[in-house]
Symmetry: C2
Subunit: 332 residues, 2 copies
């Protein structure tokens, strides 16, 4: 195992100390239990938004804490769900009286723990709504999931709901918006290589030198099939066909197109992928109105990519374009 | 070789087509000869800034074309210098009458070709100044370089000089500023793994499973020494000591600290590195006032990192903070 770390058991905590040292003007880090929270939390009268999940997917979620996106993020150990007490304390820390939205990727541990945290928070008088994302069309159930996995749309939902909360929308409205984004979003990913978690020191799975895995999850859990490595055009066609046919996205649709790197794929390759996606969608009469290209929901150093589409309308475009100021996404 | 590409010989061109498809509102791509240029170029009365170099280091340089940073970037083939005709045409395309600055990393091919392009541009009546960056303290000469290599400071110089040009500073002043940034900047990098260029299909060098290379260049060219993998704390101490002792940076100095990923290193590890750098510099009485953490000058999928420091003053802080709107850096 080759990693820039000190102690495999201390990676998450030490990375958080790095986050605090780097971004302490904008976020605070709580270590016991662990969460990253906006420095100005709670923002009175604003819906608070909390997400979280296993570490190893950075910048998601901790890199998205800041004005216009998340109020707090709860990092678990690498590829391990955070605990209910993290989520509860984060929820209390961001509650400004307008309630708190939990955005939860559909992984069984995350869902159960966020449910428990929501119950506890409600017991303390905090209004909580939870939305579970499940945009991955690859498989119905998987190693860690009943139903579809929540993947790339989570990043987009955090951005769009963050903007809505910043505008002063109510908890019910922000939650409804989150369900809408999830409902209009679909994703699928693939991998060229496995990743190695610091704790295990072993590759998350085995792939031959000439193989790829289509439909993989963000922890290296199995996808739809494993086969000989194909061209970018062929790979994009298969991912995109599965995505587009699922919702379905239709001629005349306006979309946000998100080409995400799994961590170890160079940006030059992600732009080749984007070229193919642009051609594919053009051929279907689907117009890309907004795009995001880069490493945003990763699997440590895994090589590969995922594609996420979101069907847009004017309201979603406005919220996507709204200013955001986080380490992982910043504009406006 | 496992890459998300179609044809090894078409990677650069197809990635540029992806850039054009994605960012066509803000940049134009010229294919013969190849360069990326601001859509609104030439900006009348503004100093134009052109950089360039081999591809495979994305987002540098093409990802830094836009308001507040570069006016144009010339991508060579992967790890191969661009040609003088690319640089000449890019120079002409961004000349708004106030002259053009070439920011050139010290690699022999880049330097010679930019010199030729500058001569040709001057022959056409364009005022050109060139600044060669050479911030890498690792080695005096290297495989592709006489003198020190130009690495991480190039990104920072492009940002700061881009802001100065946007303010309307003269060519002489922007060039002097670039020399100042280079003079006050130092870098050093290391690698855990090699990378594979699409053209060769072979690793750029060999490293045993328990080895790392300290002082490596951005093409995998040899560094200072190769030894057993050490802890992040130990690695950072060695890189930082070499950097700090070289300028030297002294107690009371204010710096911009840039922790750069080589492409294949997860962000969580870069934050562990940042933690160590923060501690190291604190111990020396050096204050980090600004920071940049992520993959900005890469070597395809190489795992590893580099550290760059820039000694700051109020003027440099103001220019660093100025708005920038490029695919690779965006704020304000």
């Amino acid at each position: 195992m080759k990693k820039l770390i000190n102690d495999p058991d201390a990676v998450v905590r030490e990375a958080l100390e790095g986050v605090e040292a780097a971004h302490g003007d904008n976020v605070r880090v709580n270590y016991d239990p662990m969460y990253i929270v906006r420095a100005d939390a709670p923002v009175q009268g604003k819906v608070g938004i909390v997400s979280g999940g296993g570490s190893g997917h950075e910048p998601m979620h901790g890199g998205f804490v800041g004005r216009g996106m998340l109020d707090a993020a709860c990092p678990g150990e690498v590829f391990t769900s955070p605990t209910p007490d993290q989520m509860l304390e984060a929820t209390k820390a961001v509650n400004g009286g307008a309630g708190v939205l939990h955005i939860v990727k559909n992984y069984t541990g995350d869902v159960l723990n966020f449910e428990m945290a929501a119950d506890l928070a409600k017991g303390e008088g905090i209004d909580v709504e939870a939305v579970v994302t499940n945009d991955d069309v690859a498989v119905q159930d998987s190693l860690y999931t009943a139903g579809r996995r929540g993947v790339g749309i989570t990043v987009i939902a955090e951005k769009i709901c963050g903007a809505a909360a910043e505008e002063g929308q109510s908890l019910a409205d922000v939650a409804e918006l989150c369900r809408k984004v999830n409902g209009q979003g679909r994703s699928m990913g693939m991998a060229l290589t496995p990743c190695v978690t610091p704790g295990s020191g072993e590759p998350s799975f085995e792939l031959a030198d000439d193989e790829m895995e289509i439909g993989i999850g963000i922890h290296g859990e199995p996808g739809r099939y494993r086969e000989k490595l194909a061209s970018a055009a062929n790979i994009v066609e298969r991912l995109s066909t599965a995505i587009v046919d699922d919702l379905p996205y239709e001629s005349g649709d306006r979309v946000l197109a998100f080409v995400n790197g799994m961590g170890g794929t160079p940006l030059i390759e992600l732009y080749v992928v984007y070229r193919e996606l642009d051609r594919f969608l053009s051929g279907r009469g689907i117009a890309i109105e907004r795009r995001l290209i880069g490493n945003f929901i990763t699997s440590l150093e895994m090589a590969g990519c995922s594609i996420t589409l979101l069907r847009l309308d004017d309201d979603l475009v406005r919220l996507w374009d709204a200013p955001v100021d986080t380490p992982g996404l910043r504009w406006g």
